[in-house]
Symmetry: C2
Subunit: 100 residues, 2 copies
DNA sequence: CATATACATAGATATCTGTCAATGTATTAT
DNA sequence: ATAATACATTGACAGATATCTATGTATATG
């Protein structure tokens, strides 16, 4: 698997539209045309954002016929989450504690 | 306390120099002049980066005499970490598990 | 086959961003 | 008081980025 690039992931999440897309995908897998309905952007712009998200590793792209189904790459998201955790410098164990 | 703006935090971490600064601060509090030594940037550029980091909420700025001591705002970092965790859509409990 | 749909690519453009040099402002040291 | 140090601000500029329109490509549907 590709190495996690934390800066690239942060850049990918550093845009309001992309952040919203990721939030929507964290709920469940969605196709591009479904995502497009929820935003006030053109299809090429969405395509641009999806490319950045996929290239960051955060999002998977599964093609099925003429549809593209996007979903969160949970391995990468977990890796990113654990990385952020290391930045907490937390001795109390309060950072990203297990459970829900 | 100020509300956590996840996009702003991601933007702040979405630059290689700022990411490195945050990594250095996660070790321990450091003053600006000490940080400056470690980078190939001018002092105004560092000042610019520190402003972005402080405004994102991720970094605290404590003034002491003519020095500015920067440190991680662990509350904000924890909040951000927990936010990322919600994006994992993880039912296995593997995301950001407790302990070390 | 002809048309519609889903998505990508190319090119243009306005805005944002990282960087620098120059300069200003406190604070410390001599 | 003078000089040095730590940091901020201003203004300029090159490169990155988000967005659009126009167009291309593949797949599904009639």
């Amino acid at each position: 698997m590709a190495k996690l690039d934390e800066v690239l992931v942060c850049k990918a999440l550093g845009d309001p539209n992309r952040m919203e897309i990721v939030k929507m995908l964290s709920d469940q897998e969605k196709c591009g045309c479904k995502l497009l309905e929820k935003f006030d952007i053109t299809q090429p712009t969405l395509s641009h954002h999806m490319k950045i998200l996929v290239e960051s590793g955060l999002v998977n792209d599964r093609k099925e016929g003429k549809w593209h189904y996007y979903s969160i790459n949970t391995d990468v998201m977990r890796g990113f989450c654990n990385f952020i955790k290391t930045l907490c410098n937390d001795t109390t164990g309060k950072c990203c504690k297990g459970g829900s």
